[in-house]
């Protein structure tokens, strides 16, 4: 038995000793995903991290320009922007020619077939397939002529009939598709850039069946033959990838930063992408510092060790050539009242009092290292509809006024008000934010309690309207304020995205008119009006527009913060010389 222990210890030490050295020959990109990846079926994707992975192997008709800001939609699988009919309902797309799907056993003789208009129609139909209950269905629900009818018809059938033609999805030839909308949908093209609308091949879906989600067969720059439920995903360069070149334009100043150095080169620029899934923040942080990853979204709790005084990169990190990226996000955090609850619905003053009692500056300091912007209303800066000058009179810290309003609301010093439970996700920071909120409310006499939920439970409570107050952050799906304003649109009430069930007929009327307009100064001013009108009503307690921080090692080239970054990774590059040189420091 003793010898057994010796042998085991020996093996242990030996293998620890010969742990692998880094290679400097291959252009490998090392990334971290902070959440588990569900799978690679585009229509089932609902989170950003799964979208990022799918974006390495699949492509949509459009993508966002990697460097230009504000975000600009550029054709990806489409050859150009579509031709839109005068009534804005019919979009005609021309497709790129010669685009090949990945080689896969799904195709006859294993060679990837060419991408054609049938694939576009199939991929959209698939999103509406009632048998699949796609998570992305909301994007096209009641949008495309004939698609909802097709969906209803098929829900009674044994298997959905894809052969049936749909009025709104018309193949004109192999490289031209015409899509007819039911009503104007200005966000339509944005939707076509989203992971849910990545193009898949029918052959692959049929061949792999239920296992399709583990066998991504796309047209994208990287290939992944099989996805296994491991914590490491390794992509290799797609050898049959079409001719796609690095852009030569960007935002002003990008060339000075060296972001456009690779302009005109064929992409992708790296041979391999290795994604490690690391959930806990300590190993993520330690791993990055050991150069196990090239890029890191700074976990909030490691902020102080990375950033000195909220601005400068810590000297020890700087010495290693590490760079800091800080970018405002297109998001908003909020405490949403349930307007089904008469306590809140009729009582604007109560809502305002609670908003005034919350010390946002302190919260910002505690939770966001003072990097976030206090939200005056729903729309984040960077989107049309946001007006920098606008200040919500109830987004400030004023205990006196809060107390006054609370008394006017009928609850002097909080008397008569029951304890309010705020529902949130079971995450440490989420809990702490509410604890802080509760502490603030206690000052004016309102008792607040934390209710922790798993994500699905929280969704469940919100959709079933079983909450008083819940807190959440909303990130943009696409760069259009409609995505934010819709959160307060009455017809979107639960189970829709308006979890507060707030209804304001004036707002709704404006929303109806504005959202069918194409992007224009006129629309923006309507958005502004809505944004400010709803702000003083305080249907929510507005929180923050947050900032995202990234750290990258010196050898990572071409990285620029991107809100919709599914397709970003093909543009990244690794400088092997620098890596070799700097690696000595780790």
């Amino acid at each position: 038995m003793k010898s057994l222990v010796l042998v085991l210890t020996g093996v242990l030490l030996l293998s620890v000793g010969c742990s692998k050295d880094r290679s400097f020959d291959e252009r490998e990109l090392h990334l971290i995903s902070p959440e588990k990846i569900a799978g690679f079926d585009p229509i089932q994707i609902s989170d950003m991290y799964s979208g990022n992975e799918a974006g390495k192997v699949y492509e949509g008709l459009f993508e966002f320009h990697p460097y230009k800001r504000p975000y600009e939609l550029i054709p990806n699988l489409a050859a150009a922007l579509p031709v839109v009919s005068a009534d804005g309902l019919v979009y005609t797309f021309t497709l790129k020619k010669g685009v090949k799907f990945h080689d896969s056993p799904a195709f006859p003789d294993g060679k990837g077939k060419e991408f054609k208009s049938d694939d576009v129609i199939y991929s959209i139909k698939r999103l509406g397939d009632p048998k699949l209950q796609a998570k992305g269905w909301w994007l096209f629900d009641d949008k495309i002529a004939g698609l909802n009818e097709w969906r209803d018809k098929n829900s009674a059938l044994e298997a959905s009939n894809y052969a049936e033609e749909i009025e709104g999805l018309k193949k004109i030839d192999d490289y031209t598709v015409a899509i007819k909308l039911k009503r104007p949908y200005p966000q339509f093209l944005y939707a076509l850039a989203m992971p849910q609308l990545f193009i898949v091949a029918k052959e692959a879906v049929d061949h792999f069946g239920k296992e399709f989600l583990n066998h991504p067969v796309g047209t994208g720059p990287f290939v992944l033959p099989v996805f296994e439920q491991t914590n490491r995903i390794v992509y290799t360069k797609n050898p049959t990838f079409r001719e796609k070149f690095f852009p030569s334009e960007g935002e002003e100043g990008d060339d000075k930063l060296g972001l456009l150095a690779d302009a005109g080169k064929k992409i992708p620029l790296v041979d391999k992408i290795i994604v490690d899934i690391i959930v806990e923040s300590q190993p993520k942080w330690l791993g990055f510092q050991k150069a196990k990853a090239d890029l890191l979204e700074i976990p909030k709790d490691n902020f102080d060790s990375a950033v000195v005084g909220g601005k400068e990169l810590a000297p020890d990190l700087k010495a290693k050539g590490i760079r800091l990226f800080a970018n405002a996000m297109l998001d908003v955090t909020f405490f949403a009242f349930n307007h089904d609850d008469p306590t809140f619905k009729a009582n604007k003053k109560l809502r305002q009092a609670m908003s005034l009692a919350w010390d946002r500056a302190e919260a910002n300091k505690l939770f966001y290292n003072s990097s976030a912007i206090e939200a005056q209303s729903v729309i984040p800066p960077g989107l049309g509809g946001y007006r920098k000058e606008f200040k919500n009179p109830y987004v400030k810290f004023d205990l006196e006024q809060a107390k006054k309003l609370l008394a006017e609301a009928g609850y002097p010093k909080g008397k008569g008000l029951p304890t309010i439970t705020v529902q949130t996700r079971n995450e440490t920071v989420a809990r702490q934010i509410i604890e802080h909120f509760a502490k603030c409310q206690e000052r004016i006499g309102i008792k607040v309690k934390v209710g922790m939920n798993t994500w699905p439970e929280l969704i469940n409570k919100v959709t079933k309207r079983q909450h008083q107050l819940y807190t959440m952050a909303w990130g943009a799906d696409y760069p259009d304020a409609e995505n934010f304003l819709g959160l307060l649109y009455c017809p979107n009430s639960s189970p829709g995205s308006n979890g507060s069930n707030y209804c304001n007929p004036d707002f709704d009327a404006l929303f109806k008119t504005a959202t069918v307009l194409q992007d224009s100064p006129e629309r923006s001013s309507m958005y502004e009006k809505m944004n400010e009108m709803v702000a003083i009503e305080n249907p929510w307690i507005f929180g923050f527009h947050r900032t995202k921080f990234y750290l990258s090692h010196a050898w990572l080239k071409n990285f620029k913060f991107m809100e919709f970054n599914h397709t970003q990774f093909q543009y990244l590059n690794v400088d092997l010389e620098v890596k070799k040189e700097l690696s000595k420091k780790f």
């Binding site: 085991l8 209950q133 829900s155 296994e228 491991t230 490690d276 806990e280 791993g287 969704i459 469940n460």
Partner: protein, 311 residues
């Protein structure tokens, strides 16, 4: 003997039915509507209703129970709600890393604990015995989390002896990854193990046959290793074998912190996404493991203890 095994195997049926019942009560009856989990934040009411129908949630309770029972006997657990993956496939893929971590850790910790217990039993009542006991108890009284946070930072990062996190398939590639979590596992389990083993060994040391062995002129160490340990093995085997099914689940926190893609991580993930089919599958899986290994430990009894004869 064969009859006994058959009888015990047959007894698995009512226990499995019971386990299915508990799981059914917990996940099908008491718990709420899963459709929100499946459809994400932008679900429509219509979609939710359709999905309920498709998932068979409108079926009668009895039929739903039958489904649970069926899965307990066929191991066909269906598909995950959160990831849409086939659960048996997830289990298959997840068990390898879990086993890579848990089996060596378990074997080594058991062996080390046995050695320490024999050692302290030899010096029972002396200072060293008290010292080891106090260290064991003190070690048990510290939160596992504290060990994980500190060890990862110190041994993997500061000293760089091990990989910080991750996993690779194949021996010995996985060793640098599992070594540190395995060490934490060992540190965590030595305390309770030694405490239990020591008690068992001391129970035996005061038996009459030990006096007989002494009167033969055997040395104290020989008595401990040959006579006492052999008898103490009987309760130790049960204690050890019954832990094996929990090894399959791995260590939830360890796997999470070290990014080991094992069943523990899957379970934790399922918990966080209210993925009931996966949680059901894990519960059934570990219950079956528990029952099977319970039987194995009973059979091993006969090997260790000639007095027990099963009819």
């Amino acid at each position: 003997m064969t009859k006994y095994i058959i009888r015990r195997l047959l007894y698995m049926i009512p226990v499995l039915l019971g386990v299915s019942l508990i799981i059914f009560l917990l996940f099908n009856v008491v718990s709420g509507d899963p459709t929100a989990v499946l459809l994400g934040k932008n679900a429509t009411a219509r979609q939710m209703a359709d999905l309920r129908e498709q998932l068979g949630l409108n079926k009668s309770m009895f039929l739903q129970y039958i489904d649970v029972v069926k899965s307990a006997f066929t191991f066909d657990f269906g598909y995950s709600w959160a990831t849409k993956q086939e659960i048996s496939q997830m289990i298959k893929q997840g068990s390898y890393p879990s086993i890579c971590l848990s089996v060596p850790a378990f074997v080594i910790s058991t062996i080390i604990s046995l050695f320490i217990s024999v050692f302290v039993a030899y010096y029972r009542g002396k200072g060293i015995d008290l010292f080891v006991r106090v260290v064991c108890i003190a070690g048990m009284s510290i939160s596992a989390l504290a060990y994980i946070l500190f060890f990862q930072w110190f041994f993997a990062y500061k000293l760089g002896w091990f990989e910080i996190s991750g996993f690779e398939e194949g021996f010995p590639a996985f060793v640098p990854y599992i070594a540190l979590p395995a060490i934490i596992w060992i540190v965590l389990s030595i305390g309770p193990d030694v405490r239990f083993f020591r008690t068992v060994i001391l129970d035996e040391i005061y038996q009459d046959y030990v006096r007989t062995a002494r009167s033969k002129g055997l040395s104290e160490m020989t008595i401990l290793l040959r006579h006492v340990l052999r008898n103490a093995m009987i309760p130790i085997i049960t204690y050890v074998v019954i832990q094996i099914p929990s090894l399959i689940l791995g260590a939830l926190l360890l796997e999470n912190f070290f990014s080991i893609p094992g069943l523990g991580g899957i379970t934790l993930n399922a918990l966080n996404s209210s993925d009931f089919p996966v949680m059901k599958a894990m519960a059934i899986l570990s219950s079956v493991g528990y029952i099977v290994f319970g039987l194995i430990s009973d059979i091993l009894y006969t090997v260790a203890d000639p007095r027990i004869k099963f009819k």
